[in-house]
């Protein structure tokens, strides 16, 4: 008994003729073909149809479809440029990410180091304060809570960076009166250290100059700014001067316990002693003279220990003065309970007279911490946007 041909049977027979049936389905269909003559006849008709279609003659193209090289050969650069756009865009995006990460890293480091940088003057304080304490145990200037252990640690690092000369000078400060000398160093030596000396005038030094004789000549005396009333000062200074010659004389504060500012010291070979009578041209309008009458405790001008280191020549480019002021009550030098006021430190720092603004950093001024990271961010983001656009255009054009 035969069954009528169903639509599914045509699909089975068609796939059977193309050998596209699974083995089980193929076996079932072959058993049906053996049993159903109508299904077998349909298979034969389909096989003949396929044979007719495959016998269709192949036509020869009426012409060649080749392209004219003169018309189409100039198409080479466009795909190369699009590929290059994608590659350059990817590289640019990677570089921008690196810049942004670098900016983040730099920003983090700047924020961490910003307090220390802004309090660089404070960083010198512990040493100066310690020197003051060593020279004058009765005066106990204490640092505030803000300039505590961290500032002391940073001060140690700063002194280490200042070099051996600076260390030696600062260590000699407590018991001496500074004598400013200019020492000419060989070029090989002078080229390396920028901070050459630290000059501090402790209260004891001011005591020795209690006769009202300023440490600096009258021509260099200039009152302090109004409203500023330090009672005791500790100044640490470092100066490096660059003469027009190849050698770089470095201002070096030497502390000599047997001499004070009033006693001229014979010039040593290679050194230039600055006598008190020698007119020193102050670099700063606020150039201050050491106050008098501080040792006697009599009221008088606000005592200070700030001193200006003169430059040997107009071509001097760097004067580093790190100053700290210990303020005591009632204008008394080294008074009990004297405190260092960090807020007043920048004003106590002598910064004017610089002929190069780049030296402002050496004065304890904190560089805006976000300057470098901001540049990294701006350049990185701009580069990222440009690279993404470049890559996107290249990718889109390659898809068209």
């Amino acid at each position: 008994m035969t069954s009528p041909i169903r639509p599914d049977d045509f699909e089975l027979l068609s796939a059977y003729l193309d050998n596209a049936l699974p083995e089980a389905t193929r076996a079932d269909l072959e058993s049906r073909l053996a049993a159903e003559p109508e299904l077998r006849a349909t298979l034969d008709s389909l096989r003949t149809t396929i044979r007719v279609l495959r016998a269709a003659p192949t036509l020869r193209p009426p012409r060649n479809f080749t392209l004219d090289p003169a018309r189409y050969s100039r198409r080479a650069p466009w795909w190369a440029s699009y590929r290059a756009m994608q590659v350059v865009g990817a590289l640019g995006a990677f570089a921008s990410i690196v810049l942004i990460v670098l900016g983040l890293f730099t920003s983090t480091m700047s924020f961490q180091s910003a307090p220390a940088a802004s309090n660089s003057a404070i960083a010198v304080l512990p040493t100066s304060a310690a020197a003051t304490q060593n020279s004058r145990p009765e005066s106990t200037p204490t640092l505030g809570q803000r300039a505590s252990d961290k500032a002391a640690a940073l001060a140690t690092e700063t002194n280490a960076l200042l070099g051996q000369d600076a260390l030696s000078a600062s260590q000699a400060v407590p018991t001496t009166t500074p004598l400013v000398t200019i020492q000419t160093l060989p070029p090989t030596v002078a080229a390396a250290p920028l901070f050459a000396a630290t000059n501090a005038i402790p209260p004891s030094a001011a005591d020795e100059t209690a006769a009202g004789q300023p440490a600096l000549p009258p021509s260099g005396q200039t009152p302090l700014a109004e409203g500023y009333q330090p009672t005791a000062g500790v100044m640490a200074g470092a100066a490096a001067a660059q003469p027009p010659t190849a050698t770089r004389p470095v201002l070096k504060a030497q502390a000599d316990s047997g001499q004070n500012a009033q006693s001229p010291r014979p010039a040593q070979p290679g050194q230039l002693a600055l006598a008190p009578t020698q007119p020193l041209q102050p670099l700063v309008p606020q150039a201050t003279a050491l106050p008098s009458a501080t040792a006697t405790g009599t009221p008088g001008p606000a005592p200070t220990a700030t001193q200006i280191l003169p430059t040997p020549s107009p071509q001097s480019t760097t004067v580093v003065v790190l100053a700290a002021t210990v303020t005591g009550p009632g204008g008394e030098q080294g008074g009990a309970g004297g405190k260092v006021e960090p807020a007043a430190l920048p004003s106590a720092t002598l910064t004017a007279g610089l002929r190069d603004n780049k030296d402002a950093n050496a004065h304890g001024r904190a560089i805006p911490p976000l300057a470098a990271p901001a540049y990294f961010f701006i350049v990185g983001i701009a580069l990222f946007i440009f690279s993404a656009m470049l890559f996107g255009v290249g990718w889109l054009r390659s898809r068209l």
């Binding site: 045509f10 796939a15 389909l46 044979r51 007719v52 003659p57 020869r60 060649n64 479809f65």
Partner: protein
């Protein structure tokens, strides 16, 4: 012929390399276009457009069967031509018998054989024209040009099941068409008449 090397050269802008590929595939492309469109000139134009488009988009070829990729472009060009003809019907002023002047690759031996082939070609094309464009495509690819199901699915961009069902229905309709042709077909190709 190193097809891959020619493709790479053509991708770099070497037109001569692409022309070598054109010469290799132009017969298949033209026959596919002719079976899909049914008119020699329109098929030639569609084939030319397809090769130009293939060269313009050669960078999109990511490997695989270049022939299948090329035939898909030819198919799209033919579909564009068919849609254009559907919007603006074209009445040919040529003699309908002009098809007999088609140049065959294997014309056979003698004029009688050539006449049989031309008659067979005309009947087959008439039956193909009765199919839908989708059924015509899969049938031409499978039964005329001998592609397997996978290649047909890639060219037609449909699934294998769709290919099977389209081929089955197309063959069923072609069988009926060829049975109706009867004695117009050469004797060796005649199918049994329907009951």
């Amino acid at each position: 012929m190193d097809e891959l090397a020619l493709i790479h050269e053509a991708q770099r802008g070497n037109v001569s390399s692409f022309n070598t590929l054109i010469l290799h595939y132009q017969t298949s492309a033209y026959n596919l276009a002719y079976r899909l469109i049914g008119e020699p000139e329109a098929a030639a134009d569609a084939t030319q457009e397809a090769f130009i488009s293939a060269y313009a988009h050669l960078m999109q070829f990511r490997g695989g069967s270049f022939k299948s990729w090329l035939m898909r472009i030819v198919t799209n060009a033919c579909y564009d031509e068919l849609r254009r003809r559907k919007r603006r019907p074209v009445v040919s002023l040529d003699d309908p018998e002009a098809d007999t002047e088609l140049q065959l690759v294997s014309p056979g031996e003698g004029p009688e054989s050539l006449a049989q082939l031309n008659a067979l070609n005309r009947i087959i094309q008439d039956c193909l024209d009765e199919l839908s464009s989708e059924q015509r495509l899969v049938t031409v690819l499978c039964d005329v040009q001998g592609y397997d199901y996978q290649e047909i699915a890639a060219i037609a961009q449909v699934s294998l099941g769709t290919v099977k069902s389209r081929i089955s229905r197309a063959r069923q309709r072609l069988r009926d068409c060829l049975q109706d042709a009867g004695e117009l077909l050469p004797e060796s190709y005649r199918l049994n008449q329907r009951e």
